[in-house]
Symmetry: D2
Subunit: 344 residues, 4 copies
């Protein structure tokens, strides 16, 4: 079985393993206060052109989401998100468990826009009984989204401005950030995300690391006491240096971007193979996730050799599926898949 079902099927980039080995008996302080974490933080700040940002390392995405959101909102505030947003559908109510409602906006492709945010806020405050309604306090987006779609610089800037004008924080879930920075024509950089958000994170788990997400906080109001928040939510790794080691490697010599490029180029080969076959892609993704619409026969055929996700049943005949590549995907596996697609 060749796995394309997700982007966390393997371990980590070999350079990380090597570094783990080299540093294994080195003695360091705990809880992220060691020199390797500090080095990784500096590299990330540089990559983000954000000298004044604070950088914290967390173990996983749900943990990063709940820690950031619970720390930013007042008790009666909620977080605006696409109805398909990860925090709304795939975190077992982690946000609600911290006391906050996820306020959903309709979205056909995982993205939301500035106009939606403005209208939501206006409608809230226009309501004379708004004190009986959860107050919007933050906007949460993902880049790329759960559907592999991406924002343009203009869209991001507009969202950030809408947030600024309406006293909302903008928080960007970058669990797959790397894969959303490398497609042809992409006009967004890490520096843009640091500039046009209050807080965002750079995903490691799905982009070369064993685990780990690097939270980058640009807004001073969110920086204070963030380590208390991490600890309280059980996210402070005793051997914090493990996170430092991984990001220190990923941000050495553009490794993070390079491996993302590799994964995306393989994904585009899969996309082209499907399209050449006349198979429609449900979302217009230029990232490592591809969503071909297959019929049951096609699914059955491919299932014999490959694992992939059933994303959504469109109707009796058609099903949206998901194929993921990653930094670890083997070219020969993709070649084989491409051939099998051609034979469908």
């Amino acid at each position: 079985m060749i796995r394309f079902e997700c982007d966390y099927n393997e371990g980590c980039h070999p350079s990380i393993l090597k570094r783990l080995e080299e540093t294994n008996f080195m003695q360091t302080a705990g809880y992220g206060e060691d020199e390797i974490c500090e080095s990784a933080r500096q590299k990330i700040k540089k990559a983000c052109e954000a000298e004044n940002a604070d950088v914290h390392f967390l173990v996983g995405g749900t943990q990063a989401n709940l820690t950031v959101i619970a720390g930013a909102l007042r008790p009666y505030q909620g977080v605006l998100a696409a109805i398909s947003g990860h925090i709304n559908v795939h975190e077992t109510g982690a946000i609600e468990n911290t006391g906050h409602k996820v306020l959903t906006l309709p979205s056909s492709d995982g993205k939301i826009n500035a106009a939606q945010v403005k209208e939501y806020v206006k409608r809230h405050y226009d309501d004379t009984t708004h004190e009986h309604i959860v107050q919007p306090g933050m906007v949460y987006i993902s880049h790329p989204t759960e559907n592999g779609t991406t924002y343009t610089k203009q869209e991001l800037r507009d969202l950030y401005e809408a947030c600024q004008e309406n006293h909302l924080y903008l928080f960007i879930d970058g669990a797959r950030m790397g894969y959303g920075l490398v497609y042809e024509g992409c006009d967004l950089t890490l520096a843009d995300f640091a500039k046009y958000s209050d807080v965002f994170y750079i995903g490691g788990t799905k982009v070369g690391a064993l685990f780990g997400e690097a939270v980058v906080i640009s807004n001073d109001a969110l920086k204070k006491d963030f380590r208390y928040l991490i600890k309280q939510h059980g996210g402070m790794l005793a051997k914090g240096r493990l996170l430092g080691i991984q990001f220190d490697e990923l941000f050495e010599n553009n490794l993070y971007t390079e491996i993302a490029k590799y994964a995306v180029s393989l994904a585009m080969r899969i996309r082209k193979a499907f399209e050449a076959k006349g198979i429609q892609m449900h979302y217009d993704s230029f990232t490592n996730q591809q969503f071909p619409v297959l019929n049951q026969k096609q699914i059955d055929t491919l299932k014999e050799k490959y694992s992939f996700s059933i994303f959504e049943k469109l109707n009796e005949e058609e099903t949206v599926t998901r194929f993921c590549t990653s930094w670890a995907t083997k070219e020969e596996d993709v070649e084989e898949l491409v051939k099998d697609i051609e034979l469908l």
Copy 2:
């Protein structure tokens, strides 16, 4: 600087690194549903002589504590713990953050006993206004405690019986479990902990792993839907196999116990060196943590070459300090420390 300040200064046992390397490009399912996790679970159940137990892997101790406690208690219930219990003093209110009060019992050495539990429960229900008071729902102990002290089998059994009679769950924090199983005369085994508790965990972070705690649930009532709880609290590792790999190695050929023995033997050499010098140990610990009472001059002298913790100021002259060994402590470092103690 030679570090004795804690037991998580280094990476992990080399066999784990080796296994990480070997399995790095293996493709597995995520979230702990892979074959390595399954193998590790089987080994742990066997070590605990608890075929019917459920075993789950979590990343860290605070996470394990909050996930277990929040999952077990009704909203108006609290958890009984020694006033010095880790959940009461060193987790930034993680338990309260899940809505539950830590109900403290006095303790001079980190341990609590069955009589205290019984009396607390009796006093609660004897109070005619007990509905205005947090109801005790669970007892939390650590083995070894924060003070390096340990329970005997009789004490554990008595506590468990007191809990059974009073409809309380007994939960044992085993963040340093390994170090509490190997001293001379120890009459407790992992099987006893599985038998005389509703749920407990076997700490990896401080005993040879990079990170990870294995939660062992004996009580059926606590098994249901535990994975929902893990996910909700942000504790479900995407590459769950990392936890499986570590525990699969630690529970191969008694590695877990062997490395604990090694650490404790070094700790005992340190203890003996202090005692030979007429220096008093504040707690009677036969585990990897030792608590010599030092004066300022002694502290200053040792601080030049060694890092260790200031645990508690007793009075103007005396301070309780803490020296930890671990699976990674080097014999030559201990030899050096012993010599320097002799010179004090």
Copy 3:
């Protein structure tokens, strides 16, 4: 200005004031443990033909909702409700504040049905990643709904059976319960609600009381320690007898039903006046709330003398409005409104 904007514009039924006066200097125990509360509980159990039910008095609806729901659900569970349900839109996230997600079902008239519930649960457990998704644990409906619509006995029974089969609690918000029991052809009684639910409440605030909701718990699993839950959420009234007094009066000589009948008869006169004028009612309500679709000119005309709610803008021209009657509405005020409707 004559107010039809809601059903809590006035004080309470005079018989309650009289009883308050008579009992004012009587000395009783606090917190609902007095003899008047006990008498009221007995009357309610009799009215519900539910000798084994537990009855508790709470001050308001949001408090009743959050206390019942937080007490019934496991931490990772959510409560299914119509998207327009009060807990979803008008309680400032009170349910999420207790840690639980409101899982919404589409509804055009405020009602949901058994088929929706079954399908939701099936879809949940069919999802192989269901542990990453909030688990449905309860169904919440209102009778009457926010739209004045009502369930039939068959619909209620079907819902209850769907809940039973799927291990969900059924909870019924009866903030306006009285007004939903008295229309011509209504085939539901309080006894049916006690029989076909796990817990429901009988609203006092909007049906003759100064304040107060009587929670009736039929399911034994939900009875245990309910008073702890009330106290913890700040809902335990020191002078609990005030609640007893009100329900003891409301359940004497059918007062509760009688005043509801009166209010509904006035509402039906308003409805008929609108319909006679060719004005459409947006929801088919036979309760004290009526929802005529008015144009701006009609709204402006009526606004000169009457207050009423703007419920929803349908389009540029049409707006759904809400007119409420209550036990306190004066017949002459309704007569005057009817005349003014005729003149529109």
Copy 4:
């Protein structure tokens, strides 16, 4: 049986009942936005010499405590209180249920002082691992305390200054406030409480009202969106005017103070009777609560005719008891008690 067990055995001051009657059919807006509430707010601001304060009415004390505290603290912060503080012992963990730890300070008489607060904060920040410990964010005191003791102006000012210097809010629970303002030599006024606190409340439930606490917020930072907080916690009374009516009456012609004076004068007669008999008062209370230390025979004798509280068993022979008076206590009942004390 004559009840001295608490100060909420009866209904309310007759002038409130009269006002309820007069206004019963008046139509007002809901949720505290009516003219009577506004009038009451103005009177309270005047009584507190605090034109810029915000005044909100809540139904009960636990509700007021949890709403204020949950609104003021960051998620990782706790509230400092005397170990005997109401929030620590008698609210079923309501504060913890909102996610916050109650950080206890020792106290022999219910009071805490500025030095304790300063030391606690210093110790917290001196600890190098303070991010692993709940951060103090607020100080909670009661005036009078659970033990009937009271603060002097100097003590209050010192506490407030300690809070200011250490970035802590000072919150005063005034559930029995009236009874703590009227003893001979009392140098504190409502204006002092408004001046030397960030937020406090004036209790109605125990001082003449049916129910209700008036929260007075002096600190601007705590004013924002307070109504959202009230609603979210289920504390927003639909017929808010009921609270307005009660405080509008209590703050007309000094009624609040007058009835408190009356109750305290009766309490002092009881105190003097006990003292004349050589019976010791356990706390030095000049308020409506008195705490004589009785032996079992004395208790048994008095129990025949009177109800009172068993507060604490001192030893085999002696028990601290509590006798309360209130605005509603009858002089003849006190006379009778005094006679029976003389006969002990």
